[in-house]
Amino acid sequence: MSILEMEHVGFKVPSEQGEREIIRDVNLALEPGRLVVVTGPNGGGKSTLARLIAGIAIPTAGRILLDGEDITGKSVTERARAGIGFAFQQPVRFKGIRVLDLLRLAAGKELSVSDACEYLSAVGLCARDYIHREVNASLSGGELKRIEIATVFARGVRLSIFDEPEAGIDLWSFQNLIRLFKEMRGNIPGGTIMIISHQERLMDIADEIVVMKDGGVDRHGPKDDILPGLAGSPLAIGGCCKNGQGRLTKC
């Protein structure tokens, strides 16, 4: 059974012209244990799709099923408890809430400091320096982003969604990030990871790639089928070329 199914999902918002269609007739099934990268041009509907799955936005048409259960009408909280994790593109700041508090809330239990430190180390932060800091404006965008990713890692849920996780992250951390996603996939049996990204190096570790365009699914298939067609386009930043052996390498 698919872990996530979207059936004829649509999403419209009011506009000056009456209504604007952000997502149109999306049919998508994600299988357990897969790492899926969703890419596509800006404004193509990628982030909205992720928000519809997490329940932050509610579809105006169609159904969303998680493990076969219809969750279309369920709240953000109910979906989170049902096993959906969501890392925001632009993480939220909290005055007075420490990194440790946020990780404990994410884990849903009294996390020991050493356990919490492991999650931070996994995202390339020196845990000792961060664990007792507030998740406030004193943290840089890159630090916040990594903490955001760590909260989803700490949740350990069946479907983890990351909205542009690489944004604001330096190269060294980005390499860590790739390792982290591989590790997450290995740690949660049957767990599926959905990443919204333009980064070719993230697409390169994916099992499947979904290309969103004009609010719909333009292409969806195994990485090896989709990625070559994106090579060198703005949808795969970094570009890639085939070498003499037919393997993808950096141009």
């Binding site: 997490a54 932050i56 709240s75 953000v76 909280t77 989170a80 408890r81 959906i84 994790g85 969501f86 925001f88 993480p91 939220v92 909290f94 005055k95 007075g96 809430i97 420490r98 508090d101 946020l102 809330l105 994410a106 849903g108 909260t151 949740r155």
Partner: protein, 309 residues
């Protein structure tokens, strides 16, 4: 050891100070208008004023890392009192003073405690002052607290004040004044939660009179229901000095907050800054915590608890 203790009083003492047994250190516990127990130590001498209006607390010069508790509890409806406590902190002393007042009012009459605390810090003295206020009881009489605090700081002294009022106080008007000599440093952290139809007013006037003096006065408040808060903090720079004041507040329901930051620079090298921000809980904060599995109400509580932490 303590006289006239009841379970309610013990519970309130624990709420105020984290303990109900003060043996092993200097203390004075005041319950329902009279002293329930008092102890002086070698370094900290607590004496009642001759006219019975309060206490004189002398902290000997050079005392290090000592602590004194002076909690006040009222459990009888209709008590109204004004108490004057004067703290004389000797040169180079380093002490923590835990004060605070809890009012449990289960009757129809108002109960009120107005505590006036005055501090004289000698050269190089360091004080950490913790003052917690709360109210409880289901009587129709109001729980009123009007603390007055005066701080006189000699050269190089340091005062950190933590003022907390979390719940149950119907009406409070807090006035704090401080005068700082050269290189003295004052840090104030005020945390305030009001609910129902409560009203809480805080006035601060901090005068930095000596070169190198500094002050940092920060208030975080949450006003729920129909409650009202006013934060009026004025920093006066009479010498080369640095001062910062901040009011950071969350309003909910029909809560109202007035922030009145004031700066007065009377010296060209006085560097003074104020910040004030008032707003409701941000929607994306709630959503983030809900994506972690919290309900909206749980998320709200976490945000407020963190904010007031």
């Amino acid at each position: 050891m303590l006289k006239n203790m009841t379970d309610t009083i013990r519970g309130m003492l624990r709420e105020l100070t984290g303990r109900d047994d003060f043996s092993g250190g200097a203390f004075n516990v005041r319950a329902n208008g009279e002293s329930s127990g008092r102890l002086s130590t070698d370094g900290i001498r607590i004496e009642p004023k001759p006219d019975g209006s309060g206490l004189d607390i002398h902290i000997a010069p050079g005392v290090k890392r000592d602590k004194v508790h002076i909690p006040v509890v009222i459990t009888k409806s209709g008590i109204r009192e004004t108490v004057y406590n004067d703290f004389h902190i000797g040169e180079g002393a380093d002490v923590e003073i835990v004060a605070g007042c809890g009012i449990h009012n289960h009757g129809p009459q108002d109960s009120e405690h107005d505590g006036v605390h005055r501090f004289w810090l000698a050269r190089g003295a360091r004080v950490r002052y913790v003052e917690k206020h709360f109210g409880s009881g289901d009587g129709s009489g109001r729980r009123i607290l009007n603390p007055g605090t005066e701080v006189y700081m000699d050269e190089g002294s340091v005062m950190e004040m933590e003022m907390v009022q979390i719940r149950g106080v119907d009406d409070t008007e807090r006035t704090t004044t401080a005068e700082l000599a050269a290189n003295a440093r004052l840090v104030v952290r005020e945390r305030l939660m009001t609910h129902g139809r409560q009203r809480a007013i805080s006035y601060y006037v901090v005068k930095m009179n000596g070169a190198g003096a500094s002050a940092d006065v920060v208030s975080r408040g949450v006003a729920r229901d129909d409650s009202y808060q006013k934060f009026d903090a004025k920093l006066v720079g009479n010498a080369p000095c640095t001062g910062h004041t901040e009011c950071d507040s969350i309003i909910m329901d029909n809560g109202k907050i007035l922030a009145v930051p004031g700066l007065e620079a009377n010296n060209v090298d006085a560097a003074l800054v104020h910040e004030a921000a008032i707003g409701k809980i941000a929607g994306d904060q709630l959503v983030k915590l809900m994506t972690l599995g919290l309900t909206e109400q749980e998320a709200e509580e976490q945000i407020i608890n963190g904010f007031l932490n």
